[in-house]
Symmetry: C2
Subunit: 110 residues, 2 copies
DNA sequence: AGATTATATAAGCATTCTCTTATGAATGCA
DNA sequence: TGCATTCATAAGAGAATGCTTATATAATCT
């Protein structure tokens, strides 16, 4: 890993909202519309964050029907470091359980 | 550590030039004018990087005569993570040995 | 086919970042 | 005391960042 790649990696995870996204993805894979609900942000904002994370190799996407399911790229060389850092953070305010209660959890694998 | 603090930390180390600075400091403490020579950057640019690193608690300073000696803050909670990340990087082009050869190494503790 | 849903992308704007040059403050030396 | 050295800070320019709104694309449903 050279200086440019490490800078890109650290800039990729060095943002409050992307850290919140990664905290969610640490527990389960989620689609864009679920992240939009969880973070209470607009859909384009989420998509742009995901692209940045993807460019840094931190997450991977899987198209399933209309949805794009995002998950942590467990094959990233610094995946263990990422998990360590994310484990320092408190649980985010809105949980996936809240989504389920509100009937907003997507069941795209059904 | 909350989301804001982790963002500040990652932004602190998420810059090519600051990574180069930290790579040098991993081996030995250095003053501003030495870093200016090693990185081939202007003195204010170095000072501004050091302030950013200091604000994030990543480095600590010690005034000695005319010089400000900077070192890694080994008491930072994420110091082990930092060392791990820095160890991924190749050795920088200009070395402290080059400085000595050129007679530019400061001996402020003499 | 037409309408709906999920997502990506483009353009615009405000903020932040990182450098530059200029200047100020403090220390040590002649 | 006067001067050189070291460093910090301020102000400004240009690029990058992260949002917004608007629009395009693709898949699904009726």
């Amino acid at each position: 890993m050279d200086y440019i790649a490490l800078e890109q990696y650290l800039k990729g995870i060095g943002d409050q909202n992307r850290l919140r996204i990664l905290t969610y993805l640490m527990h389960e894979s989620l689609c864009v519309c679920e992240l939009t609900e969880l973070l209470e942000m607009t859909q384009p904002a989420i998509s742009q964050h995901m692209r940045k994370l993807k460019d840094a190799g931190i997450v991977s996407e899987e198209k399933r029907g209309r949805w794009t399911i995002w998950s942590l790229n467990v094959r990233h060389p610094q995946y263990p470091v990422l998990i360590h850092l994310l484990s320092l953070l408190p649980a985010p305010g809105r949980t996936v359980e809240d989504l389920i209660k509100e009937g907003k959890k997507v069941m795209c694998d059904a």
